[in-house]
């Protein structure tokens, strides 16, 4: 039965991929992309990658969809000049050569990917480190310890993306998206009241169990960002042109704590980014909490596309 499932899943993914690329209108492409995210989450579950599945469920099914629908809304609210409307989209490249090139690349990649697919042993350094490590989730071990540099650089990339967006926003007069319609509050208030504690609890749960079971700072941070997105969509948080000291502190705390910790590694070990003996779990937890707060804040503000947020208490 499993081969049938796999084949259908893959055909579904390909069909959706083609739909996204060939969609005539933006909205259609965006909805297809959101469905694609859902199906990707199912794929990660099928391939037994629970950490990735958690992240995809939050990002692919939640935040990315809201972001793209926001972009859709921006395009629709500003329909452009009459000459632009309705005109067929010019093709960037002639279709035939592009298709031939893509097919060629696809065939080469297929050959390559089938040859190197899976089944190799776990790398030696990982296999040695895993059994005695103070964290029991292999993916967390890689992210926080063995390849901590990657995670550090990733927080830098996140911060850079936000700073870039902020620099653009300070010099343009874009209206904030998502000024909610007043009547929707009767519908959305109960959900927000229900979901706020649940999402916070889930984020903490994912963070807390992240050391020993699938989960961790990324997923928890993305979940916090999803909560922030929900607050913006329902009008409880409004974008503002100023960012207060609290927001700024939250934005940089992940990078700051992680870098500080990397430097301190030199005092208790021989290399940066090493964990102190005996206190490894606690320090990993501190780093993870800081990362979660930073990731959550950055993604929320990237969704707002504004430097800051202010609460809107009119009910």
């Amino acid at each position: 039965m499993l081969p049938v499932f796999d084949t259908m899943l893959c055909l579904g993914l390909l069909w959706l991929g083609w739909g996204i690329v060939a969609s005539t209108t933006l909205f259609r492409g965006v909805v297809l992309f959101m469905v694609f995210g859902l199906l990707m989450a199912v794929t990660w579950v099928r391939l037994s990658a629970p950490d990735v599945a958690l992240a995809e469920a939050v990002i692919g099914a939640g935040i990315a969809g809201a972001l793209l629908l926001g972009a859709c809304k921006a395009m629709l609210s500003d329909p452009g000049t009459p000459a632009e409307q309705g005109g067929p989209e010019p093709a960037a490249l002639p279709r035939l050569p592009a298709a031939a090139l893509s097919l060629l690349v696809g065939a080469a990649l297929a050959w390559l990917m089938v040859t190197v697919r899976g089944g190799g042993p776990v790398p030696e350094a990982v296999a040695i480190a895993l059994p005695t490590h103070f964290l029991h989730n292999p993916v967390s071990v890689i992210l926080l310890d063995l390849r901590g540099y990657d995670t550090l650089m990733e927080t830098v990339v996140l911060l850079l993306a936000f700073l870039g967006a902020r620099a653009m926003m300070r010099h343009s007069e874009l209206d904030p998206l998502f000024t909610p319609v007043a009547t929707h509050r009767h519908y959305t208030m109960p959900l927000i009241t229900l979901l706020t504690p649940i999402l916070l609890l889930l984020a903490l749960h994912i963070l807390w169990t992240g050391g020993n079971a699938p989960g961790g700072a990324f997923q928890a941070g993305a979940l916090l960002a999803a909560l922030g997105v929900m607050y913006q969509l329902t009008g409880h948080l409004r974008p503002s042109r100023e960012s207060g000291p609290g927001v700024r502190a939250l934005l940089v705390c992940g990078l700051l704590v992680f870098s500080l910790f990397a430097c301190l590694g030199l005092t208790w070990g021989d290399a940066p980014l090493t964990y102190p003996r005996g206190a490894g779990y606690v320090s990993a937890l501190v780093v993870e909490i800081a990362l979660m707060l930073s990731i959550g804040t950055t993604l929320t503000l990237l969704f707002a596309a504004h430097p800051g947020l202010k609460p809107d208490l009119r009910q």
Partner: protein, 100 residues
Amino acid sequence: MTPIVFPVTAALLFAIGLYGVLTRARLIQRLLAVNLMASAIFLFLIVTSTGGPHGPDPVPQAMVLTGIVVALSTMAYALVLIRHLRVLTRAETLESIVDD
């Protein structure tokens, strides 16, 4: 051993995404196609991580996790750039700016 359909799908998805990037002129749709290519690479990385004799290899999984978050932040930034470009030039493709 992971079934052979998954790597083949990854390769084909990459090809579809590439075709989209090459032929679509509207920037947001090009962005969607780029994200499709990223998903194809993630799929391939996860496929290489599974099916080993000693359980899944966590290194590619960690890389994909990092990649997903980076892809999301890049997409958010690109959307801000596209909106900005549109406000400044009223264009939704790059070519129309070059032509002017």
